[in-house]
């Protein structure tokens, strides 16, 4: 049963890692592009939010499943 906790930790950690790299790239490129062509700023920002939502979905689903594993599948482990 302790392995469930490890599974949840891996799920949360790797999900957050990937999403963080993705968000970093996305935000960096947005600022780069806006600095180069400020008049495209609003349009790029809209697209950035769309992609941020797509990236955000994967780790947040991971968080949901991890929480379910910790608190419902294996409650009270180590307590």
């Amino acid at each position: 049963m302790e392995l469930v906790i490890i599974a949840a930790a891996i799920m949360l950690g790797l999900g957050a890692l990937g999403a963080a790299v993705g968000m970093g790239l996305l935000g960096g490129k947005l600022i780069e592009a806006t600095a180069r062509q400020p008049e495209l700023g609003p349009m790029l920002q809209g697209k950035m939010f769309l992609l941020a939502g797509l990236i955000d979905a994967v780790p947040i689903i991971g968080v949901g499943i991890a929480m379910y594993l910790i608190f419902v599948v294996a409650p009270g482990v180590g307590a």
Binding site: G53, L54, D56, A57, I61, G64, A79
Partner: protein, 340 residues
């Protein structure tokens, strides 16, 4: 509701994740399920009454409110509700013009409906998790999930509707070109038809699945975190200190989270009055301490603050997810309209 031991916390969470199911039970016949097991026994032909009622109710609310604005629409300067509706309609119109290049009168209204409807369904997530279920429990309804988009049946159902539209317009606009796209696309040679067909079908089917599961996953995770924070309120009752014993004496062992919500509102209200200069600081501290002693120590305050901060963050998520569902629907329909 939930006590301090893990078993009843689990029960509390599972209770919150159980829909109100109406179906034909093999032993008891047609009726509402009284437990999760009964709901499972009802099999395929059972209906989630709460999801249906909330989603249809919110859909009709959207239609009525927007119809009212549409009837009053005029060429002058809009005000109030009409102004707000015009803002949303223009926003959606701009998005559809940006990403949809075919000619179809149905896409923009569809996008508007999807956006506002999903937003309203997601908005139910911001209500305190126990508010409606505990009110309905008083009237004898024991299971209630108020957020329809945390039910995969609802989100996948919407994605299925989008998928049917995609296939319909692909055939209508492209005709045999759609068949050609499915069979001849990555490798343009007759020998590769089975491989092409397999790859294109997987690609086609992945679209509605990712569309529905993305919305479901986001809302489910958000709801799960709200529920987990809500279990903290109950942890307050078991925390001992002044509250544990006093609390149990005053209100009994079982108290709903609604009670802690009231305490939280009282504490915030007193602090707010202090900021406005209507209550002195000494009285504020005394009143807050009294409320918290009754309500279960710091847990009530901490839990309330966490609920509130997660709700603030969640406003972004619910809007973004409604927006993404809408944009992807438009993009998929736009792909169905591209004639080569």
């Amino acid at each position: 509701m939930a006590g301090e031991n893990p078993a009843s916390t689990t029960e509390y969470i599972q209770h919150h994740l159980q829909n109100l199911v109406y179906g034909n039970h093999p032993d008891t016949g047609w009726g509402f399920a009284h437990s999760s097991q009964e709901a499972v026994d009802m099999g395929f032909w059972a209906i989630h009454v709460d999801s249906m009622a909330w989603s249809i109710g919110l859909g009709s609310l959207f239609c009525l409110m927007f119809l009212r604005a549409a009837k009053k629409a005029h060429t002058g300067v809009p005000s109030g509700w009409l102004n707000f509706v015009e803002l949303i309609v223009e926003f959606i119109d701009g998005q559809v013009k940006d990403s949809f290049h075919g000619r179809n009168k149905m896409v923009a209204p569809l996008a508007l409906t999807i956006f506002v409807w999903i937003f309203l369904m997601n908005l139910m997530d911001l209500l305190p998790v126990d508010l409606i279920p505990s009110l309905l429990a008083l009237t004898g309804v024991h299971f209630q999930k108020v957020v329809p988009s945390t039910d995969p049946n609802v989100t996948l159902g919407m994605a299925l509707a989008v998928f049917i539209l995609m296939v319909y317009y692909s055939f209508k606009i492209k005709g045999t070109g759609f068949v050609k796209e499915l069979t001849m696309h990555p490798f343009n040679h007759w020998a590769f038809i089975p491989i092409n067909l397999f790859m294109e079908t997987v690609g086609l089917l992945a679209k509605p699945f990712s569309l529905g599961l993305r919305l479901f996953g986001n809302m489910y995770a958000g709801e799960m975190i709200f529920i987990l924070i809500a279990t903290m309120f109950a942890a307050g009752a078991g925390a001992g200190l002044v509250s544990g014993g006093l609390h149990a004496q005053l209100f009994g062992e079982e108290t709903s989270a609604l009670f802690w919500l009231v305490i939280f509102v009282l504490v915030v209200g007193v602090c707010w009055l202090n900021l406005k200069g209507k209550v002195s600081t000494g009285k504020t501290v005394l009143l807050c301490m009294a409320f918290m002693a009754i309500g279960g120590g710091v847990f009530a305050l901490g839990g309330g603050l966490m609920q509130w901060s997660w709700a603030v963050f969640h406003i972004l998520v619910i809007t973004l997810q409604a927006f993404i569902f809408m944009v992807l629907t438009v993009v998929y329909l736009s792909m169905a309209h591209e004639d080569h």
